[in-house]
Amino acid sequence: MAIHLHPVPFDPAVELARFEASLPRGSVGATASFVGTMRNHNEGDAVAAMTLEHYPGMTEKQLEAIIQEAREQWDIIDALIVHRTGDILPGNPIVLTAVCSAHRAAAFDACRFLMEALKSRATFWKKETLSSGDTRWVTKNT
């Protein structure tokens, strides 16, 4: 299990490679991963930047619990969650979830579970700076 919170930009490929290198070679048959990236539009407005606030301590605890639930529910080898905090620009990765397993169904299912659970339970909040200069808290987590 690995959880990383990054106050600065991260490279999903590097994180994923490090994660996979930590697993027993030859046992992994399937790796499902998801990267959420900041878009330059939201709710019809051009977005210039974003700040991701979180609840230090609670965030990590929630993410660990989510991975633990995935391990109990599916036959997986390991799971990874990486999430940005702080100031983010369009095109920057926000989140990476990845699951390695012997067979693909468990990897697909568990990877999606991590994202849906994270979206509903992990204590992150996005504040957008629009191109107009206005700021607003994101209220819909679609």
């Binding site: 959420g36 979180h54 609840y55 929630q62 979206k119 204590t123 992150f124 909040w125 209220t139 987590n141």
Partner: protein
Amino acid sequence: MAIKVKFFASLREQQPEGLSQVEAEGVKTVSDVWERATATTLVPAQVLCAVNLEHREPHEAVSDGDEVAFFPPVTGG
């Protein structure tokens, strides 16, 4: 003898006078903490609560020494 209180995101901005701790005396639930910390009654329906880093409902119990947090719906990922 106190309960630690935290506000996050839009709630932190809306509660600039929100207390960062309240006396534990007479405080039984998350809702009681909200009343003392914000000087308003009832936790708004949209507000989420946590006790000691776990999601909790307003009617749930708190104890002396707990950390209670209030925040809007999460929007990570």
